[in-house]
């Protein structure tokens, strides 16, 4: 199994700031970040009835499938995926080996503008995640959220009592 991915407050706020800017500058409806395992990291915009965890999971599945297709074709992977709908469109771009950036937009903007803004945001987000790695290596991040070491088997048992 892989390491545990902990997102601390500073980086979380930084990520939300970048996503908010991307949403505003690209005039899109929704911007989200997920990891490749399908977990939503942050979402900015109008969710409405949309389920954010399903959105992240299906997007990750989509990227995983197209990555495998790329490998079949002898390529390393696709830089971005674009799904065109009747009203809404979706632009998906993998960032590094772990993260996926998704943008949902309609006729209020254009694919060209979304691509342009995504490019800028991707490099900013890359920098944030690189920085997390560097901080980890330098031991500057707490190794654990404080209360974890105090959790007992009985506390875990209690998760299911009263279901």
């Amino acid at each position: 199994m892989n390491d545990i991915f902990i997102l601390y407050d500073d980086e979380y706020h930084e990520i939300r700031k970048i996503l908010s800017r991307l949403k505003e500058e690209s005039n899109s409806r929704l911007v989200f970040l997920a990891d490749r395992n399908g977990q939503a990291i942050a979402i900015i915009g109008d969710l409405d009835e949309l389920d954010s965890t399903a959105l992240a999971s299906l997007t990750a599945g989509n990227v995983a499938a197209t990555d495998s297709l790329a490998k079949l074709l002898g390529s390393k992977g696709f830089h971005s995926l674009f799904h065109e709908g009747e009203k809404e469109n979706m632009h998906i771009s993998p960032i590094g080996n772990h993260i996926i950036l998704g943008v949902i937009f309609d006729e209020k903007t254009s694919l060209g503008l979304v691509r342009l803004r995504v490019k800028k945001a991707s490099s900013e987000l890359s920098a944030v995640f690189d920085n997390i790695e560097k901080k980890k290596e330098r031991g500057e991040l707490p190794s654990s959220p404080p209360p974890f070491s105090e959790i007992t088997d009985d506390d875990i048992e209690k998760l299911f009592r009263g279901r």
């Binding site: 199994m1 990891d35 389920d51 399903a54 599945g61 404080p146 959790i151 998760l159």
Partner: protein, 198 residues
């Protein structure tokens, strides 16, 4: 890979139901989905073939509860497509798995399919570089209500791999479904917590 958002105080865990085709993996998730309060669950997402078999995965997000310290535990349950020829998509679903349930089919005629699926699981884990011994694992012996089934002892002899907890089940009727789910969630949370206390 467990994901912890320290700001929103959420722990996200990925749990995968593995096993041979038509063994009842999707039925497990459907039963859980149909028998929990709506505020604790997200939609059950299924990606089926034209004949209603799982093509890629089924997915069910569930709020489990809150741990001491205020951390909410949210589990993402996935099933893999069981049919042999869907290994490419099956392998993708395993990526980043935190806990595994093996849903075995108790019918005598499906025993070889169980063994083949276990072998396939081991190969796929190995290809990702995951160590099976490090991953919380629960065995479910499903379809115990059908005629021509193997005895529990016989099944355990071939399918129980590391003294993991096992449950007899009839997933269609809900027998053993929540017990299996609770066991894997507890084991996965315990593994995460212990990782921090080392």
């Amino acid at each position: 890979m467990p994901f912890i958002n320290n700001f929103t105080k959420e722990i996200h865990l990925k749990i995968v139901y593995y096993g041979p085709g038509l063994g009842g993996k999707t039925t497990n998730l459907q039963y859980i989905h149909n028998h929990l309060d709506h505020h604790r669950k997200g939609p059950l997402v299924t990606l089926p073939t034209e004949t209603d078999r799982t093509l890629f995965f089924d997915f069910l997000p569930l709020d489990i509860g809150t741990l001491k310290g205020g951390y909410k535990v949210r589990c993402h349950f996935y099933t893999v497509p069981g049919q042999v020829y869907y290994n490419a998509t099956r392998k993708l679903v395993l990526k980043g798995v935190d806990g595994l349930v093996f849903v075995a089919d108790s019918q005598v005629e499906r025993y070889d399919a169980n063994l083949e699926s276990v072998e396939n699981l081991m190969e796929n884990l190995k290809e990702y570089g995951y160590n099976f011994n490090d991953i919380p694992y629960v065995l479910q012996l499903n379809k115990r209500d059908l005629p021509k089934i193997m005895s529990v002892e016989e099944m355990l002899k071939g399918l129980r791999l590391k003294n993991e907890p096992y449950f007899e089940a009839v997933a269609l009727k809900g027998v053993g479904v929540f017990e299996t789910m609770e066991a894997i969630v507890k084991a996965t949370v315990a593994k995460l917590v212990k990782g921090f206390s080392l």
